[in-house]
């Protein structure tokens, strides 16, 4: 009992110093105006300047699209991975790219998508001619989805892998075809994996900012870009924190919503 208290106290300390205190500081900073006084100017500013509202909308939209793309790729991938012989090995190969720094991956894509890169060479070879691939919304979402993919596959893989085989057999025995089994048994029972995958991918996607510059050429602007600019260039920490608080609120809202959806479906 004593050791449990010890373990627990370290966890509580960690929570206080590295989770609660920073959030409290951000909340406090967000009420500090340019002149260093306590005000709600920053929030007023956020909702008054149409650029910020549109940026919020963009961020949510792009994050949703990225999540959708990764989900569409991940579910079948995870499904077939569980059916393979050496599934742990395959899974490790899927996770391997996460060992590589995100910047390196982004730079690799710059090479692939450039005018004289492999992607354009291929397009020319099949007769479509070379295209501007970098700095487009499509390439930005593709790279973001690629980077987030392992985080989506992993929870879904675990959910499918944990699925009781006998339930599938029962479904087949009772006359359901492959699709019916999938739609009525496998899918609902792995919804939890999807849910955590969506959260793990959607929330970081909201504030991606390095990729927006490297791959999106700053033609895709999300709240992450605005935060970076306010902290590093303008040095208006108040406004930066305000955007941070709004991001946090959006994230909580999303978590709440994904939680709700699950309950309703059941």
């Amino acid at each position: 009992m004593k050791t449990r208290g010890l373990y627990f106290s370290s966890y509580v300390l960690w929570l206080i110093f590295f989770v609660l205190a920073p959030v409290a500081l951000i909340l406090y900073q967000s009420f500090i105006g340019i002149n260093g006084h306590f005000t709600i100017d920053n929030y007023e500013n956020f909702f008054k300047v149409s650029a910020y509202l549109q940026m919020t909308f963009n961020s949510v939209l792009y994050a949703a699209l990225i999540t959708l793309i990764t989900l569409l790729v991940s579910y079948p991938t995870a499904y077939f991975l569980t059916k393979t012989k050496y599934k742990q090995l395959w899974l490790m190969l899927v996770i391997l790219p996460t060992w590589i720094n995100i910047l390196l991956k982004a730079y690799a894509f710059i090479g692939i998508f450039s005018q004289s890169g492999p992607a354009n060479n291929f397009l020319e070879w099949i007769g479509l001619g070379s295209h501007q691939l970098l700095f487009t919304n499509a390439s930005f979402m593709l790279v973001a989805a690629y980077i987030q993919l392992p985080f989506m596959i992993l929870p879904i893989f675990n959910a499918i892998d944990d699925l009781d085989e006998s339930l599938i057999n029962v479904s087949h025995d009772l006359g359901a075809n492959g699709f019916q089994t999938f739609w009525n048994v496998t899918f609902p029972l792995t919804l939890n994996g999807i849910k955590s995958g969506v959260q793990v991918v959607f929330i970081p996607s909201l504030s991606l900012f390095m990729l927006t510059r490297l791959i999106g050429g700053n033609k895709v602007i999300t709240l992450g870009t605005a935060i970076e600019e306010n902290f590093l260039v303008t040095q208006d920490w108040g406004m930066g924190s305000t955007i941070g608080v709004i991001l946090i609120v959006t994230m909580i809202l999303i978590m709440f919503l994904t939680g709700e959806k699950k309950r309703r479906r059941r």
């Binding site: 963009n58 050429g217 590093l232 260039v233 040095q235 208006d236």
Partner: protein, 356 residues
């Protein structure tokens, strides 16, 4: 549980081993007493490493060299204390801001040797009158880089040419509010330091029309892209332009005649400096024409040291990219430090422009 404990202690052991290793390594590489070390805070790859060895040999001081990638990051680090840097090399507007915030020590000109080597054009500038706090290190300009495979020299003589519809989706801009707003203000015959709300609004309206021509808004990556013929036109600094032109012979640099930005990176002594004597030793070392010339040859930026310039290879001295004519320089402006309110205004407008 047993397995978990083994793993847990294993990790702790590895951490301890790494810490001891790090400590031992640091001990070997000198460190020593603070009055024997000169802490220098500079941009990345902005000094010839051979000069550091030479300085250490000549003076007996050890140099601890740290780098930053933006003036703002440097400012925050110096303001918050932490490491006491003896020399820092910020840019013009940031020096002005640091003076205003009392973050710099005055430089005693009597302790300097070779101040007369510096070209008088580059002394006594608006951001630091009489050079009470700073000495020039390198300088440069902002201009247009174009690829002669796709663009003729006559097509990009002025900032306004960037708005030409024929350059649809072909311009890369440097990711800076001052730079992009500044060039727009220049194109309208205004100053890069204009803070009049109407002028800024007008500049923003004009800038919005540039959007279809803008391919991307980037930082260092512009160098690689231009070298690979990824884009026909870019707006960037002269130093960056030099590097690109080394890699790709089709690239050229031009400064629009109506005006542009001229920038300076100057050496300063932050208020937190501990080794003042070492700092002066470094200032004098860099004022020496031979050292300044060696540095300019390595970094390939323009040196403000007139005596040093004469020691450079003839081709470098005559290079119009690095050393534009006096007539061109006369049209160039230094960025003033903006008030927080105006800085936000510039950046908000730039952010809105980026969204289009």
């Amino acid at each position: 549980m047993k397995k978990l404990n083994v793993m847990f202690f294993g990790i702790i052991l590895i951490c301890l081993a790494l810490f001891t290793a790090e400590y031992e390594l640091n001990k070997d590489s000198g460190g020593g007493k603070s009055d024997k070390v000169v802490n220098i805070f500079n941009w990345g790859d902005y000094i010839d490493p051979k000069l550091i060895t030479k300085f250490e040999k000549q003076t007996g001081y050890k140099i601890s060299y740290e780098t930053f990638d933006s003036n703002e990051a440097m400012y925050t680090k110096i303001k918050q204390g932490g490491t006491s840097y003896d020399i820092a090399i910020p840019s013009d507007y940031m020096i002005q801001k640091m003076i205003q915030n009392h973050l710099l020590l005055r430089i005693d000109h009597k302790k300097l040797k070779g101040l007369s080597n510096i070209d008088s054009k580059f002394l006594n500038l608006s951001f630091d009158p009489e050079n009470k706090y700073s000495l020039p290190y390198f300088w440069g300009t902002l201009g247009i880089i174009y690829n002669d495979k796709y663009v003729k020299a006559s097509e990009v003589k002025h900032w306004n040419d960037l708005w030409n519809p024929q350059f649809k989706n072909s311009i890369m801009l440097i990711d800076g509010a001052r730079e992009v707003m500044g060039l727009t203000l220049n194109s309208q015959g205004k100053s890069v330091n204009d803070t009049n709300a109407n002028d800024l609004e007008a500049a923003y309206r004009k800038l919005k029309k540039l959007s279809p021509n803008v391919k991307a808004i980037l930082a260092d990556e512009i160098k690689v892209y231009m070298a690979q013929n990824e884009s026909p036109i870019a707006v960037s600094y002269s130093g960056e332009a030099m590097e690109m032109m080394d890699d790709n012979k089709h690239l050229h640099y031009t400064i629009p005649s109506e005006g542009s930005n001229i920038w300076f990176d100057n050496m300063v002594i932050p208020k937190t400096a501990k080794n003042i004597k070492g700092a002066y030793a470094f200032l004098n070392f860099m004022l020496n024409p031979k050292n300044a010339a060696q540095n300019a040859e390595y970094v390939a930026y323009a040196t403000p040291n007139g005596a040093a310039k004469k020691l450079l290879p003839k081709s470098m001295q005559r290079d119009k990219v690095m050393y534009p004519s006096n007539k061109t320089i006369a049209h160039l402006e230094v960025y003033d430090a903006l008030s927080q309110k105006n800085l936000s205004k510039y950046n908000d407008l730039f952010l809105q422009f980026k969204m289009h």
